[in-house]
Symmetry: C2
Subunit: 333 residues, 2 copies
């Protein structure tokens, strides 16, 4: 599965910007690939892209319509289906990050088949994977890990890929979640893989490469998240990371979706992630922390970053406020 | 899915006893449920059960034919299909621990449907699970963990269930793999669950119970196995164990299937498992070690158990040679 660009971002009747966060992520990281947005009545999200109809998108050269929002109930919102059928008939592919497969909707499946078009339900792996081999492979790998879910692991990995490429370092972002896959145009939604094959799927995702090439792998979940830690551990072992970047959000009151669970201590969390990663790469080290300080004012953010850096002895950055340069510096050492 | 007893054990043309190990396990732990075995020409395994034809099994009151061997290639061995069709036609169900689903074989699926019979492909979960909630639930739970795969976790759990029941303690074995499911008649093949739902599936498998009831949960994999550690961690978190029993085989040269990986130090392995389990049950403790000493002579086995017990300060037994009484004693403390 490789998505054809450029894209039209379909955000339906997203009630707010958060409901369109998948589309938002794609528009932020792939502005050159996003020609326009399609919004329906009631949509309160705005990607700041030109509004287009399906017909205008086709005329503009769009190759794939991305369903980049969740709907308010059911598989598709009202009136979405005819628009998506039209897109297929005009020669465009569909890609979706929804839980429910577009390809399970008979009219979409049949139309795609009739028109020779592709439907990419990126949450659902389309191939089989082997069990992880644990065999070391050439190339360097960086994995973002976190104290919790939804804490900046994808954003940080993309920012590091961009910084590396800007410095002429060979680097590829490797996507493990639906938004990341829509951004990269490829990847594996790792939490949808049968548990036996998680580390094998990650080995497939970031295969042997040049000795000076970096795979920058999007982390998932957290070793301290009671629902998803197994996914995280399989991802760590399959990635065989040389470098870990710990992501954190300092104002979060409890683990996402688990009111009874506090966030782990940062130092302990780093230790446990390094210990886990040592199984498949004894040389692994944590090279820095990426902090989402959006909940703090500028002064508090600066203080937090400086104090955490002093306490842990590692570069501590906010990828939005300060960029990830200090972490990439550390990789050259 | 609950399997109807009694069983006929179908072991086809198993070339040796190891190829029939699933059937062997069921015959060992459920002798009262196993009325007979069906062997084909070339079979070198023997469950020491009366040999029966499909017709004799039906006449004897068998309710389920268990496919308890792997075949030498392909989905089913030569000549198996007509026998299994006959079993369905005579009113018996089928259950299988094979990777490939019997229910995917058209003639078996159609015959079962026509005759109103059940095909249980126990490696494949038949229901959907929720994401793990991490919410503590009443009842006590013991989980067997291990330094490696295939090291005695199922056997130890079954032995502990038997010992507990013999002492009048309320206890239920909870199966997480295909042989365990065929023995218990129910369970979840946890390594076949989509990774996002592993801990939730385990929460479902050992739900809230009486405060003095023990679920004795079959472990899978190992936190130190590069292929499967994620499965193990999700299982640990979903189980919320009060007690862990560490299983080990002292003569194994390397991790199963991973020639480059040594077995972990026992003390470190216990520490890491306890640390992992503390996330969802801070009161967890390791209550003993279950050692498979079949590779040692009687004297060496005795020495190993005594030395390990002295070194780690925990009961250290071989479930076959010495029974699990010393571990169950520890649970009462």
């Amino acid at each position: 599965m490789t998505l054809r660009t450029p894209y039209l971002m379909f955000i339906g009747d997203a009630p707010d910007q958060l409901a369109a966060k998948t589309a938002d992520g794609v528009a932020f990281w792939r502005p050159e690939a996003c020609l326009g947005q399609l919004r329906l009545p009631g949509c309160n999200a705005d990607l700041r892209l030109p509004d287009m109809t399906i017909e205008e998108a086709s005329a503009a050269g769009v190759k794939t319509v991305i369903v980049g929002t969740t709907n308010r109930g059911g598989v598709l919102g009202e009136g979405w289906e005819p628009l998506l059928v039209k897109a297929l008939e005009l020669g465009m592919d569909l890609a979706s990050g929804l839980h429910h497969r577009l390809a399970d909707i008979p009219v979409l499946r049949d139309t795609a088949s009739r028109c020779g078009r592709q439907i990419a339900d990126v949450r659902h792996p389309t191939r089989e994977f082997h069990v992880g081999s644990g065999v070391k492979r050439p190339g360097k790998r960086l994995l973002t890990v976190g104290t919790d879910c939804s804490i900046g692991k994808m954003f940080t990995a993309l920012a590091i890929e961009k910084e590396m490429r800007g410095r002429g370092i060979k680097a590829d972002f490797r996507a493990t979640g639906q938004t990341g896959i829509l951004i990269a145009g490829d990847g594996v939604s790792i939490d949808a893989v049968v548990s036996d094959f998680v580390s094998g799927a990650v080995e497939w995702l970031c295969p042997a490469n040049d000795p000076d090439h970096w795979d920058v792998i999007e982390g998932q979940g957290s070793l301290f998240h009671a629902s998803y830690a197994g996914v995280t551990l399989g991802l760590i072992h399959g990635a065989q990371p040389d470098a870990l970047v710990m992501c954190h959000e300092p104002t979060r009151a409890h683990m996402r979706g688990l009111p009874g669970y506090k966030l782990p201590d940062l130092k302990l969390c780093i230790e446990r992630n390094v210990e886990a990663a040592q199984l498949t790469n004894p040389a692994v080290r944590c090279v820095g922390l990426s902090i989402n300080t959006s909940g703090l004012d500028a002064g508090a953010a600066r203080d937090y970053l400086r104090q955490t850096e002093d306490r842990l002895g590692l570069p501590c950055i906010d990828p939005v406020r300060s960029g990830v340069g200090a972490i990439v510096d550390k990789l050259a050492v």
